[in-house]
Every structure is written in structure tokens, then in C-alpha cells.
Amino acid sequence: MLKISTAPHINSPVTTQSIMRDVIIALCPAILVALLFFGVGALKVIVTSVAACVLFEYLICRYLLKTNNTTTDYSAIITGILLAFNLPSNMPVWMILIGAFVAIGITKMAFGGLGKNIFNPALAGRVFLFISFPVQMTSWPKPQFLNFFNGDVETAATTLGILKHLGKGETPQLPDYWQMFVGNIGGCLGEVSAVALLLGLFYMLYRRIITWHIPFYYISTVFIITGIFWLITNDIRIEPVTQLLSGGLLLGAFFMATDYTTSPMTKKGQIIFAVGCGILTVIIRKYSAYPEGVSFAILIMNAFVPLIDRYTSQKIYGKGDK
């Protein structure tokens, strides 16, 4: 008996699972840096977060929705890693569990699971924790290279934190560019090392998981706006290279703003989205009470994605410009 089906009869080797696997590989350099600088604390946070995200998704599929187990697409693992990347290494376990529940249970599964959520799950989890537990979320253990059992005693402010609380005319004690580049600075697990994040970005570009548009336009927007402010005011608090290398900008621009589900479909839409993220990041960093603006900026722009998608169709063959 011959099988029949509609065309096409072949498929690209790329599947949802293979894409997710590649993203996990791209996150590995940053995981490694987190372990090197923050020791067992980092390990505890990452393992807890990933395990909790996968478990919540499994339980919700199995007992609440009674559908196929979707954890095999690996997307819950990515959410787990990204949530961990947005937490300090001394985060109490029970708080991580709450964050994972908000990320997977509320932000992702309540909207229908993979592909249907409006907001980036890991970011929503982070922001929920940030608002609920501001003290724990803003005390960052000092990075100690290869000192795995540093005990999380000493804490260090983040670069952006130092800048935010800087009085007029004071000279800040900032880490130099090189330290920021490798990741020897205070901060959340995954955001500290620019070089590790860049390695991940290059891997994703090489594997064609993402295109360069969102990272490029997001970062350029922040760089250009802060650069203009800096040239006009000569204010160290907005010096563009520091802005670029500190806080969650690179992590957000490479791994969160590029999340397929919560970013626009067309190139044009992606550019609007990325520029919007960049503008909001600078506004929040400069004018709000918070030193860091990437999470809020991306979440706010997430909400605009359906609208952006609707009004950014591509040029259609034979129909002239739209």
C-alpha cells in the first residue's frame, strides 16, 4: 500500500528540539563563567531553577492540562537557565521555586504553553521576584574566581548600582572594562561576562538560530542614545561603554529579546521591537528608581509584539511596497 500525503515530502533537519538544544549549548559558556566566579552558589541556583521549571511544566501537562508532556522540547530547560542567570548566587531556594512557578506556571503554561505566551517567562519570573524580594534580589555576592566555597558572605554592588547612587561630582570606584568584559564584577549569574555571552551569540548566529537584527539594533540604540547624552553632559553615569558592558544588557539583547515567541516575526518588526527595547532600557536606567532597565524594557516591548506583528507585513511579491 502506498502512503500518500501533501507536499512537501521532505523537511529541514531543524526541529524545535534541535533549536532549543542549540540555545542551551549557546548558554554553556555563561554557565561556566557563573560557576567559576560564583562557585557552588551558582550551581545551586541553576540546578534548582532548571529542575523546578521542568518539573512545573511536567506536572501542569500531566495533571492540569492532561496533554502530552512538552518538556521534551527542552524549552523549560532554557527558561530555567535564563531565570537562574537573572538571580544572584545567594538566592534562597524557596524564592527560586516561586520564580520558576511564576515563569512556567503563570507566564508560560497559563497562556497555553510554548509559543503562546506573551511575555518572556524567565523575565516575568525575575521581575516578580525583584518586586517581591528586593533585598535578596539586589545583594550580589562578590565574584571570587575559582573560590568555589566562598560562602556568599561578601557582597558587591553592581556597576549600575554604583552609578545609580553616585552623588554629583563624585568619582566612582568602577571595575575596568576588561573586568567587565570577562565577568569579574558583581551581578546576576549570567549577566556578568560579556565574553561568554558573545561566544553564545556567535554560536547562535553560526547555527542560524537567530539573526543579528535584534541584538544589533538593541545594543546600538542603547549605545547611541547614551553616547549622545554622554557627549552633551559628560556624565560618567551614562558613559556608553560601561552601559553596554554592565547590567543585563548583553544577556537580554542576545538571549531574552531574541526569544522567538515573544519577539516579532518580520525583520522590520524585529527592528522596531529592538529599538523600542533600547530606548526603554536607557529611560529606565537613567530616570527610574531602578538601576537596571533591561527586564522591564523587554517585558514592556513583549506586550507590543502582537501589535507590531499586525502592522509590519513584508513587501509582497508583485504588490509594491506596503
Binding site: T16, G115, K315
Partner: protein
């Protein structure tokens, strides 16, 4: 010397699997019976001229074009008409088919079977078009649009360029490639013939860069013929799509709802051009074509010269199977081809290949959730948003599908090929077009 050209929107790069590209064209031989459908083209079925028991020769007219958008059908063998009945053709629909039992191999008188190349075009434009009509030639790249209609320029239009489509962008298929390598001069003369019919002196043979041998041979020959040139194109699917090829070569787009001739373009497949040469110069109606028989489980991937009406099973046996695990048989390429229901489905004027897929590759993968990766949007050569069209059809929102220009879909399948969630996006686009038609 030539810059490689390509279309500007979307496109994909599926694995080529051109495993038969170095295999010379060989005769498939004669089956015991042929099944010749009276509708192998777009338009109305041809009217049958023979009855059960009639003796026919190779090249005998057995069905007459019914109206302008139709095509003559000739016998591809000599023998006796044994049946005229409706059978399931390669389309899956019941089609009227003339069955002929093969006896010997006697040709109609007048058909020039010598290998000599004739290059002197003595006929005028009207005569050429009449010969093409009488030979039953239709677009052999797959569409099957009657060629005489395409070579007749409407009075209010003006032909500027004839594009000969030698792209063959479907994986596995090599029939056009081999034809260009082995019948290069005939194709170039065929281009000159169509040029004359159109009243122009501007033909471009577009060949994909993955066919260097064909490019070299045709380029050598075009040096001796004025008005025919070669253009190498970058390998990208669906470069061989009519509208995509026009845009690649001329930079102009065929406006939505219009035809290529509206911007002065005529596109003909190389197989069609070769058939035109044979009809005009060798008095040979269209009763055979080149068919690639391929697939990873085929013992000897081949390019056969096949009489129209030969059953698929005959050709598959001829090429041989490695294992006896035929899962799916496809007429055409793997991207746009049709899975046939019945192993005896006959080769028609538009069958460019027969592809055999093993049982393990015969099933469609399970569909998972759309992750909004945007790959379908990036792949669509029309610039559509297939994911959104699929959603609109799932929600039964035809107006939304219309707003998304689903009508412009060329059904190349790039979206469904590229979808990591394996959503049958093309099916939804086709469904949208079908619903539009029903509503009219």
C-alpha cells in the same frame, strides 16, 4: 563574466540529492501497455478520436484539443486501443484514459528520427505556433499550460524577453540538467524558434550554478547563435518558480493577478523548448519526455526517455530497488511533487521525475506548537506570513487570510519545509486559496 543572479525575497536551501546528474539519458523501453490520459494539461480535456479496437502508430493523434486552453494528445506507442475508461491518474482524481496494448514500434510517416540537427528555421511565426499546437506541446516543467497560448502574444501586449528555465531547483530531479548537457544545440535552436514566433531576438537560458557542465556546453553553443544568451543563477529554491526567475533575471516583478506577458516576459522550460524544436524541425509530436527516476533506495538512479503513458511501476522496476520497501512514490520533486496512489499511474507530459521514498520517510512528522520562530516568514519567496495564514484558516477567518494575501501563494512549500514544528503550513495556504475559489 556573468554575475550570478537570484530572486530577492525569501528562499531556502534544501539538500540537493542530485544523485543522477552524471547519468546519461537512456531509453526506458516499451511497456506492455500504456495509459494515456486525455487531460495532461491545464484546461479542458481533449476529445477522444479513437475507439476500442483501433490500431494506432507512434505519433497518431488520439485526442483533439477542446478549445483554445487544451492540448492535442498523441499515441506514444504503436498497437491497439484496448480500453477507454476512467482511472485514478497521478492527480488522484479519476481521469479519462486511453489504454493501448503495445505491438511493435511503428512510427507515423513524416517523423524524422535521424539524429541530424536542423538549424534552418523556414516557417513563419503563425506556422510555428500552428505546429506547436498540432504537436500537443504544453509546459513541461510541471504546470502543463498549453504552449501555443503562451507563445501567442496578445495584440495589446509586447514580448520583450524569452526566458528559458533551466533551473530545476527541486532536489533529486536531473532531467532538465541532462537534457541541456545532451541536447544543448537543439534547445538553443528551440529558443530561436520561439523567439521567431514571438517576433523578438532576445532569449536568455537561465541555468542554476550547480549545473556547471550544462552552463559550459550551452554557453559554447550560444556563441554561434545570435539572440540567445546564458545567465547563471545562484542555487536557491524556488529559483525555478516563474515569477521568482523573472524577478531574478529582469529585476521586475509580475504584478499580483497579472501574467508574465504583462511585463513583456515569456518563460518556457527547457524540456518544452526541446519539444518545440522536435516538433518544428523533426515533425515529432510530444509523445515522450525525459523522466528522472531517483530516491535513496533506487539501485540505479536514472534519467529515462519515457513514452507518455508508461506506468510508474515499469520505470521503478527498470531502475531497480535496493530493498523492497516502497513507502511513497512521488511524481515530480519532493518539494512540490504529488504522492501517487497507484503504482501504475502513468507518466504524463508534465512528469519530470519519479521519486521513491522508503517506508521510514513516507510519514509526515507530528505537528507541534508554533514557536513563532519566523522561519516561514523568512523563507516565503512571496513575502507572505504563512504562520498567520495558517492561524486565520484554523480560526475560519477568511477575511484575515485575504488581508494576508494568501491568494499570492505559489505553493512552493518552502514554509512547510522549513517549519521546525512541522506544521503543514502549505496545506493551510492551499486551503485558503481553495476557499477563496469556492466563495466566488
Amino acid at each position: 563574466m556573468n554575475n550570478k543572479k537570484t530572486f530577492s525575497i525569501g528562499g531556502i536551501h534544501p539538500d540537493k540529492h542530485k544523485i543522477s546528474s552524471h547519468i546519461a539519458i537512456s531509453d526506458a523501453g516499451l511497456p506492455a501497455e500504456v495509459f494515456i490520459p486525455v487531460k495532461q494539461h491545464i484546461g479542458s480535456p481533449a476529445k477522444i478520436l479513437v475507439q476500442k479496437g483501433d490500431k494506432v502508430k507512434v505519433g497518431t493523434l488520439i485526442a483533439d484539443a477542446d478549445g483554445i486552453i487544451s492540448a492535442d494528445v498523441h499515441s506514444s506507442v504503436s498497437g491497439e486501443v484496448t480500453k477507454i475508461e476512467d482511472i485514478q491518474s497521478e492527480t488522484g482524481y479519476l481521469e479519462q484514459v486511453i489504454t493501448i496494448r503495445v505491438e511493435g514500434d511503428e512510427f507515423e510517416p513524416g517523423i524524422d528520427r535521424s539524429p541530424d540537427i536542423v538549424s534552418e528555421i523556414s516557417q513563419n511565426a503563425e506556422e510555428i505556433i500552428e505546429i506547436i499546437r498540432g504537436a500537443g506541446i504544453v509546459g513541461m516543467g510541471g504546470a502543463g499550460f498549453p504552449t501555443p497560448v503562451k507563445t501567442t502574444v496578445p495584440e495589446d501586449k509586447k514580448a520583450e524577453i524569452l526566458i528559458i528555465n533551466g533551473i530545476e531547483c527541486e532536489p533529486y530531479l536531473t532531467a532538465d540538467d541532462r537534457l541541456m548537457v545532451e541536447k544543448a544545440e537543439q534547445i538553443v535552436i528551440g529558443a530561436k524558434i520561439i523567439n521567431k514566433a514571438l517576433g523578438i531576438q532576445n532569449a536568455v537560458i537561465a541555468i542554476d550554478e550547480n549545473k556547471p557542465q550544462a552552463v559550459e556546453i550551452i554557453r559554447q553553443i550560444t556563441k554561434r547563435y545570435v539572440g540567445v544568451n546564458v545567465q547563471v543563477c545562484k542555487t536557491k529554491y524556488p529559483q525555478g518558480g516563474e515569477r521568482q526567475l523573472i524577478q531574478a533575471l529582469t529585476g521586475k516583478e509580475v504584478p499580483a493577478g497579472k501574467h508574465p506577458i504583462d511585463i513583456g516576459c515569456i518563460v518556457q522550460n527547457v524540456g518544452t523548448v526541446f519539444a518545440v524544436y522536435e516538433a518544428v524541425m523533426k515533425h515529432k509530436p510530444l509523445f515522450e519526455r525525459i523522466v528522472t527516476v531517483s530516491g535513496d533506495d533506487i539501485l540505479n538512479p536514472s534519467n529515462f526517455r519515457v513514452r507518455i503513458g508508461t506506468p510508474a511501476s515499469f520505470l521503478i522496476n527498470k531502475a531497480g530497488l535496493k530493498e523492497n520497501s516502497v513507502g511513497k512514490v512521488i511524481f515530480g520533486g519532493p518539494m512540490m511533487g504529488r504522492a501517487i496512489v497507484n503504482m501504475d499511474a502513468p507518466v504524463t507530459k508534465t512528469t519530470s521525475g519519479i521519486l521513491v521514498l522508503p517506508e521510514s520517510e513516507a510519514y509526515k512528522p507530528d505537528e507541534t506548537s508554533c514557536i513563532r520562530c519566523g522561519k516561514c516568514v523568512a523563507a516565503c519567496p512571496v513575502g507572505l506570513q504563512p504562520y498567520a495564514i495558517a492561524r486565520s484558516i484554523r480560526e475560519n477567518d477568511l477575511n484575515e487570510a485575504k488581508r494576508l494575501s494568501a491568494r499570492e501563494c505559489i505553493e512552493c512549500g518552502s514554509c512547510a519545509y522549513t517549519c521546525p514544528a512541522r506544521i503543514p503550513l502549505l496545506d493551510f495556504c492551499k486551503l485558503a486559496k481553495y476557499e477563496f475559489k469556492k466563495r466566488k
